[in-house]
């Protein structure tokens, strides 16, 4: 058995996978771990100096898929990616097009979950305008499900490039100072001062709701309950449902 631990880093997985593939190691001979769980065994794949570092040509589409799957919050992603890589390198060049293949299906599901998490990141971040050392800045607390901070934040730079902002999450924090995007380690919590515009937002949320049609399931499907604690408007939901019951 060979043990490999790329942590949560796609670059390190790629490095390790290249080495393994060059030595012809079969997927079932590798035990992958991630997020520093390798423990005693260290990183056999990367430690092996004898591994020839060849490069393998794979479809660009595979790299795109692998980059997304790498953000998925589960150790299984590394083994799955290696299995796909091994099969493609072994001659199954069209594997990416066989969406009904079991490995491909898993990878696509993970990719989909990651993309959805990025999308929800873009949708559900709620900035507050606060004052830090006499300066107005925007700050948000968000809880992504997967490792999507680096993937999601450039969107906010494109959109709000003229605003100083920070987005705090348990996984990683991002800071835009009008010139450079910097990342810092994730934090457990952050307390942000109130922002009066939030009252207007809640007023709007209440008024735009149509109490004559209640579709709580449809709402929860698109706005999963686990996001509610970071959405200011969510505190109105139960109250609105109750009121609707009375009309």
């Amino acid at each position: 058995m060979i043990y490999a631990d790329p942590g949560d880093s796609f670059a390190e997985w790629r490095e390790a996978a290249r080495g393994l593939l060059a030595r012809g190691v079969r997927p079932d001979e590798v035990v992958w771990s991630g997020g520093g769980q390798a423990g005693l065994f260290g990183n056999a794949a990367a430690d092996d100096d004898a591994a020839p570092c060849g490069t393998f040509r794979v479809p660009a589409e595979f790299l795109k898929l692998a980059r997304a799957v790498a953000c998925y919050e589960s150790v299984e992603r590394w083994g799955l990616l290696y299995r796909l890589l091994y099969r493609i390198a072994g001659g199954r060049r069209h594997l990416l097009e066989i969406e009904s293949d079991e490995d491909m299906r898993c990878a696509r599901l993970m990719e989909k979950a990651v993309n959805r998490d990025v999308h929800k990141f873009h949708a559900f971040v709620r900035f507050r305008e606060i004052e830090v050392e006499g300066e107005k800045v925007f700050a948000a607390w968000h809880e992504p499900q997967h490792f999507t901070v680096e993937k999601a934040v450039p969107f906010f730079v494109r959109r709000f490039g003229d605003m100083r902002f920070s987005i705090f999450t348990p996984k990683l924090c991002a800071h835009w100072d009008l010139e450079e995007l910097k990342f810092s380690p994730g934090v457990e919590r952050v307390a942000l001062a109130d922002d009066t515009t939030e009252d207007f937002w809640l007023t709007y949320y209440r008024a735009i709701f149509n109490p004559f049609r209640l579709k709580v399931g449809a709402m929860k499907k698109e706005m999963p309950v686990r996001h509610w604690r970071t959405l200011p408007e969510a505190r109105l939901i139960n109250e609105l449902i109750e009121e609707a019951g009375r009309v």
Partner: protein, 426 residues
């Protein structure tokens, strides 16, 4: 009146416009400004009615000189009235946008003095946003039917999307319910918009060819135009409605037709329907509309097999069509043309494309369809796969219809609102 109160009154009045789309337009953030659009719409929140909040949806005012009997804002209604100053709408939009609550603004209005004056006020807000605030986010403006061409042109310069609401499928309905409106005038406005949109596309294409910098010419309503129909206020059937929708798509290249189910609470006109429109009717219309736009169906094909002109509430229109055309099935998923695959109940457009790709490399069996998440409880009766599909032998059984029938109530419970329906595969 306090701004918060106005916001409450004028958002409440705006919620009957179903459109909240913010997709289909691309704009980079203006230098020194705020906001962009990247083509894909974002739903920033959802309310318990299942609808998405993508745009700050407001009326400039709910005062209206007209008296459309299906509308809460009609002259004779006794709702509380309010009117925003243009700069108030601008402030709310920017404040909300900066906090990432919204993609932009959808601004409509009651008719203030006449069509032109109203249009002018709407344009003024959009102009302030674009020119004074350097706002690059999404703007949807109502195109007031009968407004002058000059004003519509300005509107399209600032807005990503424009919409003139057709309201009813035929003039007789309008005569009874909205006597000031004519289909002719509304369609004239749509025609003006279409001409401007076409011209703007043409310019963009020419720019691209001659390698002139993109956007050298002005874009007119980059996300096109849409419209809305009120369903169930008049007696017009789904056949009439779908025929009209199809005609509008063809004539004016509309991006979308929205259907809004009418509920008769607080409405008094004797011409109005007394019973609330079942939400499922709206849902079925969206499905039929989707089939027309993406599945190669014509309106008459969808409505040919329905007796009273209304869509079957107990099953989706694609399934209803397939059951009425069983002689065309089963379809061999390994051989059939793309257009025939599109007609199989339970297989959506995306899966049709995947199937066409996969079968170049291997023969497709039942397990493939399951893994593709094809809706098997509908599809299984209609397909032949590489392996044995036992259900297909039931295709000709007369009781097949009943195997799909579930209590209507149960169906409506699970029916997502229009915002989610339009994204789904059927």
């Amino acid at each position: 009146m306090e701004l918060k109160t106005k916001l409450s009154v004028l958002a409440d009045a705006a919620k009957y416009d179903a459109s909240c789309a913010s997709s289909g337009s691309k704009r980079e953030r203006p230098k020194g400004g705020i906001g962009n659009t990247e083509g894909m719409g974002i739903c920033h929140s959802y309310t318990p009615d299942g609808r998405c909040i993508s745009l700050l949806k407001l009326l400039l005012t709910n005062v209206c000189i007209w008296d459309c009997s299906y509308c809460v804002n009609r002259r004779s209604s006794n709702v509380r009235r309010a009117r925003f100053k243009p700069e108030e709408v601008v402030r709310l939009t920017i404040d909300f946008y900066k906090r990432n609550y919204i993609e932009g603004l959808f601004l409509s209005s009651g008719i203030i003095q006449n069509a032109d004056y109203t249009m002018e006020q709407l344009v003024l807000v959009a102009k302030k946003l674009r020119e004074e605030e350097n706002f690059g986010g999404y703007i949807h403006l109502k195109a007031v039917p009968g407004a002058s061409e000059v004003l519509l042109k300005q509107a399209g310069k600032y807005a990503d999307r424009l919409s003139a609401n057709i309201e009813m499928p035929v003039q007789e309905d309008l005569d009874k319910l909205a006597p000031e409106k004519t289909i002719g005038e509304i369609e004239d406005t749509m025609g003006t918009l279409r001409a401007e949109i076409d011209e703007s596309r043409e310019r963009a294409r020419a720019d691209k060819k001659s390698a002139r910098p993109a956007g050298a010419g002005e874009t007119f309503a980059g996300a096109g135009q849409s419209t809305q129909l009120v369903v169930g206020a008049s007696r017009s059937s789904d056949s009439v409605i779908l025929k009209k929708a199809e005609e509008l798509y063809k004539k004016f290249k509309l991006r979308r037709v929205y259907y809004s189910a009418f509920s008769p609470a607080e409405f008094t006109s004797p011409e109005l329907s007394r019973t609330p429109t079942p939400p499922m009717r709206e849902h079925r219309l969206y499905e039929a509309d989707w089939l027309i736009r993406h599945y190669g169906f014509s309106a008459s094909e969808i409505t040919a097999q329905i007796a009273d002109g209304n869509l079957d509430l107990t099953k989706d229109p694609k399934l209803a069509w397939a059951l009425a055309h069983r002689q065309l099935f089963p379809v061999d998923v390994n051989r059939a043309s793309r257009s025939l695959l599109l007609r199989v109940p339970g297989i959506g457009v995306r899966n049709v494309d995947r199937i066409v790709k996969i079968r170049r490399f291997h023969r497709i069996g039942l397990a493939d369809l399951v893994r593709l998440k094809v809706s098997m409880n509908r599809a299984k009766w209609f397909v032949v796969t590489a392996d044995h599909n036992p259900d297909v032998f039931n295709l000709d059984k007369t009781d097949l219809m009943t195997r799909f029938r579930r209590p209507a109530e149960q169906l409506s419970l699970f029916a997502p609102g229009p915002a989610t329906v339009v994204m789904g595969e059927i």
